[in-house]
Symmetry: C2
Subunit: 376 residues, 2 copies
């Protein structure tokens, strides 16, 4: 029986909760996986803790009204760090918002979870991209797992695919479509819509934000490329090392000219071993229609792994979505269940030393202020 603490109860956290609630029996029967969600904490929606487990249906209902702190009978009022450090969870699910510049507050959550001997499962690209090595090393030193399948293509296998199904290969190059919004825009431009119209449609459908830069300038894809470079190729790479160009300068003429040549424009994230180094880029590339990536339309994502033993393997699937991303956490939990059922840490006997908790609280206060300023 795993005890889970979910930090960040937005779309992804709720997606996970829905899956866990609906499929409790299947997970137990088919995978021997049993869980209890002991704590949830969210900036906006409130926080609740019950060491014996919370009712997920009740939690989901309260979350709708931002009323998790009204959970009857639970300990409430804890912030994220309290929830991570003081709860009796053995796995922390980190699903707060991504900040690709500072990685906070998620990075503090990551460290608090691992430092208190808890497994960490996350969908958060910020600290995974910026501090991958540090986090992986900390997890190793604490003998707990750090899992992050959902940071690249939601629940579509990417990191687990490499680690488990392509094991034994040398991965020489990874290239693919890791941002659904830009792929949706480019696919729509092939239907003779202008960039502006296609972007507007993506915004109306909720794929793109009002300020769409994270997607259309390639920042989101860049974070994913950095994660692949570090996690799969062990590269020592900075975000600034990625050669990044977005799709904002692609015109309808470009699209049509490519079509006439039997080609298609795609925003391609790429990581490749070149000599001793690993090079990374995000930029529009004109693909031959015979390329498996060329046929990937709409908001779908895809990656092609070039290997020495099984040549090119391409995986195509959703790159976002409530249940899809929630599922990425489940698949990581099942991996922990397969590989560390005995090794999972016992609940901490006593709360963390006050000094650490105080320090963390102080840090969180600062972060929250900053986040408020940024209008989150």
């Amino acid at each position: 029986m795993y005890k889970l603490a979910i930090v960040g109860f937005g779309v992804v956290g709720q997606g996970l909760a829905e899956i866990l609630l609906e499929h409790r029996e299947r997970l137990k029967k088919e995978h021997g996986f049993e869980y209890s969600v002991v704590a949830v904490s969210d900036f906006v929606k409130g926080a609740a803790y019950d060491p014996k487990g919370l009712d997920l249906a009740k939690l989901l209902a309260l979350a709708k009204e931002n009323g998790i702190s009204q959970y009857p009978g639970a300990k409430t009022g804890w912030n994220a760090i309290d929830t991570i450090v003081k709860s009796n969870a053995d796995v922390v699910v980190e699903a707060t918002y991504t900040d690709i510049k500072t990685a906070e507050p998620a990075y503090s959550h990551f460290k608090a979870a691992l430092n208190s001997g808890k497994h960490l499962v996350t969908t958060n690209k910020g600290p995974t991209a910026l501090f991958f090595r540090e986090v992986a090393a900390l997890a190793k030193s604490k003998k707990v797992q750090f899992r992050y399948e959902g940071t690249v293509m939601s629940g579509t296998p990417a990191l687990n695919l490499v680690a488990l199904c392509l094991a034994g290969n040398e991965i020489r190059e990874i290239r693919g479509i890791v941002n659904g919004t830009t792929n949706f825009i480019l696919t729509n431009m092939e239907k003779r819509k202008s960039y502006a119209d296609a972007l507007k449609e993506a915004q109306d459908l909720g794929f793109a934000e009002a300020v769409p830069d994270a997607d259309v300038e390639g920042f989101d894809a860049m974070a994913k490329v950095v994660i692949l470079a570090k996690a799969v190729m062990g590269a020592d790479l900075k975000v600034a090392d990625v050669d990044r160009t977005g799709i904002t300068r692609i015109t309808l003429d470009d699209i049509n000219n490519a079509k006439a040549e039997g080609k298609r424009w795609k925003l391609i994230g790429r990581v490749a071993r070149e000599g001793g180094a690993v090079r990374a880029s995000v930029r529009p590339e004109k693909l031959d229609v015979a390329d498996p990536l060329a046929g990937v339309g709409g908001a779908t994502n895809a990656l092609t792994f070039s290997t020495d033993l099984i040549r090119n393997v391409t995986i195509i699937g959703p790159g976002a979505g409530k249940i899809e991303t929630g599922y990425s956490i489940l698949v990581d939990l099942l991996a922990i269940n397969r590989t560390a059922p005995a090794a999972r840490p016992a609940a901490p006997k006593k709360p963390a030393p006050k000094k650490t908790a105080k320090k963390a609280a102080k840090r969180m206060k600062k972060i929250r202020k900053r986040a408020k300023k940024a209008g989150r």
Copy 2:
């Protein structure tokens, strides 16, 4: 340190040997996987056994001259069953030829391996398709592993993908291109070659056999579909239950008409849950070009898994090849190494009772006679 016995040292067995030989250091360093090939047995190429391990370079050289039985210092003259039962191996690699009607002699090899408490890794579609339940149950009762990734798309992840990377999903449908030869022919017909010309080219390139029925009539795809139905969906399905149509009646007109509609003909293997039952088919289907399977050209294979939590995930990669299929065995060995490093059986203290060995030898004699008759 795993001790391997390789039964069947044709293209696949040699592919595995080449990989093991070339990447010994990498496998040890990155996966903690160490091996020693203690026995090899092949109908044509001979047999050798050394409980302390054989030299793979020497083996590969001798195999070229059908001279494995000349391996200096090794015990020679063992047949497949001797090799399986009497050797000190803890993993048996079964890579003999596929017989989709009787599954022999491979089925006897499967049973001998599992009955002597050895893990079984195979690329052999025959017994995996025909006797999946029996073999899986035997492996379970003997507390050893039965792994068969290479039976569907060589080393391209299919069965491991479902079990590890799509874990927790309900798989509702699997459809895909699981025969490279027919896909090669259909792709070539799109270049305005007739069926006969395209088939001849496939034969000249060694993709298709002189009697091409196994491929073009859909028997090979049928075996793979049955494996997916049984292994992934737990179906109780007979080969005869598969609704099977090959590609021999597809004309150049069909191909061109489809093209004009923005569609493509593919030989699609399909397994789907329908009500309480699992239905399976292999038949040409006209796919919309937006379907990820439509873009899969040449001898490449692909599968789309339709699931309840991560929707449709498609994997595309090689479906055959010496190194590609050899790799499928490696990835299964690494899975055993991850999950059963301690549980692997000790070498049997004494050879199997003479009675069993004699009975097996008798059976093998019969099988060999039959095989000779069939011109193998």
